[in-house]
Each structure stands twice: as structure tokens, then as C-alpha cells.
Amino acid sequence: MKDLLKDTLYPAAMLMLLVGAWLAGVYLLHLPPYLLPSPHDVFDRLTGDFGYLMWHSGVTTFISLAGFFLSIVIGIPLAIALVSSKILDRTLMPWLVLSQTFPKVALAPLITVWFGLGMGPKIGVTFLVAFFPVLISSVVGLRSIESEMIELADSMKASRLQKFWKFRLPMALPSIFAGIKVSVAFSIVGAVIAEWVGATQGLGYLLLQANASLDTSLLFAVLICLTVIGVVLYYSVEWLEKMMIPWHATVRLKDRL
């Protein structure tokens, strides 16, 4: 209970500070509404257009989640393949790394040209943005098992499969989760980028519309929606992590020092 209080108190204080600065900007500096809308306007927007915002949020959440799941479903098995095959590792890894230095934002228009305006290509863009953290952290996790642990498995004459399921994979879970947490945040960015190109719905699309018509209160409302989605998804993953690896130090010792 005390921990919960602490966990919510500090972020809440931070929020107050931000809203305070915001109010100060609006009422003391008298910034024009098209630069900085008042919290009141934004709140009105959020409540007034609630259904509308929820619908677009739903679309973006769907694309984010689909891209995110794809990242996991492809990223983790790909990591396993890379770790178990030297040839595959040598062949693919340089290209995978290269693909990450490449600005994926620039890829979105091309993908639209090639694959059209449907959900599929958008999920594809989201996947491209989000899968790398999962892949890399899974590779690192699967590789970083201590040599004594492997010796223990060897001394028991563990088969390759046993070594993987009973030693390597559970040992890699903390690292995999670290990647998944980055990935879930990236997936929202990916969805917004995807919706910037040839979309007729979604928060990314709304963002463009609001921007074009200098509708800053809508812009702020969309940003708030995005933040809420991000926070909810992130903490869902963290909760899942707590359930799956309660034994790990990052989970257990979170509140120490």
C-alpha cells in the first residue's frame, strides 16, 4: 500500500507541475491558443469529441498491438534461429543491423505505394519500427548464459531441446522482456508514422488533420490519447513480466534504494 502510494504520488506531483507550467504559459504569458491551448479547451475537446477520439484511438491501438505482436512472434523465433545457427547469424545479422540504421519513416510512403492503404501495410510499418529491440535483446539474452550453467546442463547430458527449454530460454526471459518493453513503446510510434501516410483514420491521421488546420486543442487531445495508450500498454507488459519472471532481480528489487 505504501509502495503504491509512492508509485503514484511522485508521478502525480510531476503531472501537477506540468499542468502548472501549462496554466502559467496560457494565463501569465498569454500565449495565443493556436500555439498553446488552455487546459480547459483541451479538456472540452476530450469530453466533447470523446466517441470520435475513442474510435481513432481504437484504430491506432489495434495497429500498434498487431505490429507489436508481430514483432514478438517474428523477433523471438528469429533470435533463436540466429543464436542456433552461425551461418544464419553471419548472413542475416549485418542486414538486420543495416535495416535499423535506415530511416524507417522514409519507408512508410514506399510501402503504401507498394501495398496500398489497408491495415496490413500499416501493421507492416509498425512491425519494422518495433521488432528490432525484441530481436536484439533476445539474441543477447540467449547468448549471455553463464558457462557454468551450460556445464551443469552438459553434466546432466541434457539434449539440445532440454538445454533450450530448461536453461537458455528461461535464463533469457529478463533480457527478452527488456526488449519487449522498448518495443511496445516503439510500436505506438510506428503506428503513428504509418498513419501519417495515406490514412483516413487513426490518431496519426488526426494529428495531421489537426496540424493542417492549426487545431491545437485537438492536437493536444490526440497527444493525450497517445500517451494514455502508451502508458497502458507499457504497464500491461510490465505486469506480464512480473507474472512471468517474479524471480528476477529487476522485478524483485524494484523498490530498493
Binding site: 553463464e146 557454468e148 550453467m149 556445464e151 551443469l152 546442463a153 552438459d154 553434466s155 546432466m156 547430458k157 541434457a158 532440454q162 530448461k166 536453461f167 528461461p170 535464463m171 519472471i245 524471480w247 528476477h248 532481480a249 524483485r252
Partner: protein, 252 residues
């Protein structure tokens, strides 16, 4: 008696570093051998070679009459660190040995209870490794090395993190297990008293390159007890070992 372990001319290099050189050692079946020597003299490396976890750079290693090509069935190892799986409870960690070897039988569960009691871990069966002290973790590792009743038990300083009382208690227990089951046991230890108390023979090693300086026989009848450590035979053996180590400049 048949030979359990035969090492002939074993050498091991890591890059240009000579970890072991010219190791000749025969251990008969059912024998209890201790290995002592200063840190870094290659004790763990030697144990790994016997276990089939590490290939020697030169020489031949045989266990139970067969050349060592990898870990064999009848082997139990307690490593220098406990290497427990953090997501498994005490009980599950011990059972791991049975799971991997497909040895899950009802009588094994009985053996599990017995070992847990014997090592004083009762009440902690459902705890996870991070909830245990270092000494308790070592005891779990020891149970795991013993659960499948291996004919060759290799232990690398298994009692390092234990208090003197528990240590003596477990030494007595190991002696009892050994006398009952006739296992071959190789024990690496830093304690001369422990080596002399438990072993038929104590192998004294020295470093750079890692080699066997001498082997000291301990001719004390079994079962041995800590109350007669002042026994002349015990004294002689420990003095011999200490002298060998002094001669090598191991102790100040």
C-alpha cells in the same frame, strides 16, 4: 579393484597459458580422493577434464575403463558455485537432475525428502535460490549432485560457504554416504583438515604450470570422527601436506 579414473600425461593449455601439465593419476573404484592446492593451480580444470566437460590438450583420460569423450551417465557434479536455476524452487532445482535424465520415479521422491532432511533444508523446499544463504545454496547443489545416486561424485569446494559446524556435519554425512554406497569421490577443497578427514589419498597440486606435487596417503580407519583428529595418523598426514605446500611457498 578396478580403476575408476585413469589420467595419463594430461596437459591443458588455454591459449599459451599452461593450466595443467603432465598429470598422472589413477583412482580406484570406490576410492575417496581429495585435491588441495593454491588458487589457480588447476583443480577445477582437472575436475572438468575428469567430468568430460573439458577436453585435455594432451594426454588420455579414462573413466570406468572408457576414454572420456563427454559427460557420462554415472556422474554427479557439485560445481564451485551453486549454479541454481533462479526460477526454480529448492525442490525443483534438485529434481532438475532427474527431469533431464528422465529418472522421475516414486523412490526418487523419497530420496529427495531424505537428502533435504539430511542437508538441513527442510522447511525451505518451496523457497527460491535468492531467498537462501550462500551455504544453503551450496547444500541444494550438493543434493542435486547426489539425487541420481551417481557412481562418481565430483565436488569442487562444495563446503566453502559453510560455517564450521555445518561443514563438519556435512563432512560426516558425505563419509556416511560414501561408506554406504561405495561411490568414487573426488573432492577439491581448500581445507587440509577436510581433505585429511575425508580422503583415502590427498593429491597436492602446485601452479605454473598446474601439476601434482605429491600424493599423501591418509591411513586412518573408518568411520572417522572429528573427535580423534589428534590421532597421530591424522597429524602425520596433515603435517605432510602442510610441508609439501610450504615447500612450494604456498603458505606463509
Amino acid at each position: 579393484m578396478s580403476q575408476s579414473i585413469a589420467l595419463r600425461g594430461i596437459g591443458k593449455s588455454f591459449e599459451s597459458f599452461r593450466a595443467l601439465e603432465g598429470i598422472d593419476l589413477s583412482i580406484t573404484e570406490g576410492e575417496f580422493v581429495a585435491i588441495v592446492g593454491k588458487s589457480g593451480c588447476g583443480k577445477s580444470t582437472l575436475l572438468r577434464i575428469i567430468a568430460g566437460l573439458l577436453e585435455p590438450s594432451e594426454g588420455k583420460a579414462e573413466v570406468a575403463g572408457k576414454p572420456v569423450t563427454g559427460p557420462s551417465d554415472g556422474i554427479g557434479i557439485a560445481f564451485q558455485t551453486p549454479v541454481l536455476l533462479p526460477w526454480r524452487t529448492v525442490e525443483q532445482n534438485i529434481r532438475l537432475q532427474l527431469e533431464i535424465r528422465h529418472l522421475q520415479r516414486p523412490d526418487m521422491e523419497e530420496e529427495l525428502r531424505r537428502l533435504i532432511e539430511l542437508t538441513g533444508l527442510q522447511g525451505f523446499e518451496q523457497r527460491r535460490p535468492y531467498e537462501l544463504s550462500g551455504g544453503m545454496q551450496q547444500r541444494v547443489a550438493l543434493c542435486r549432485a547426489l539425487i541420481h545416486n551417481p557412481s562418481l561424485l565430483l565436488m569442487d569446494e562444495p563446503f566453502g560457504a559453510l560455517d564450521a559446524m555445518t561443514r563438519e556435519q556435512l563432512n560426516l554425512e558425505i563419509q556416511r554416504v560414501w561408506m554406504q554406497t561405495g561411490k568414487t569421490i573426488v573432492l577439491v577443497t581448500h581445507s587440509i583438515i577436510e581433505a585429511v578427514f575425508l580422503a583415502d589419498r590427498v593429491v597436492v597440486m602446485d601452479a605454473r604450470p598446474g601439476r601434482i606435487t605429491d600424493i599423501v596417503d591418509v591411513e586412518v580407519a573408518r568411520p572417522r570422527s572429528f573427535s580423534n583428529l589428534s590421532d597421530p595418523a591424522f597429524q602425520k598426514a596433515s603435517n605432510d601436506i602442510r610441508m609439501l605446500m610450504d615447500a612450494e611457498g604456498m603458505t606463509a
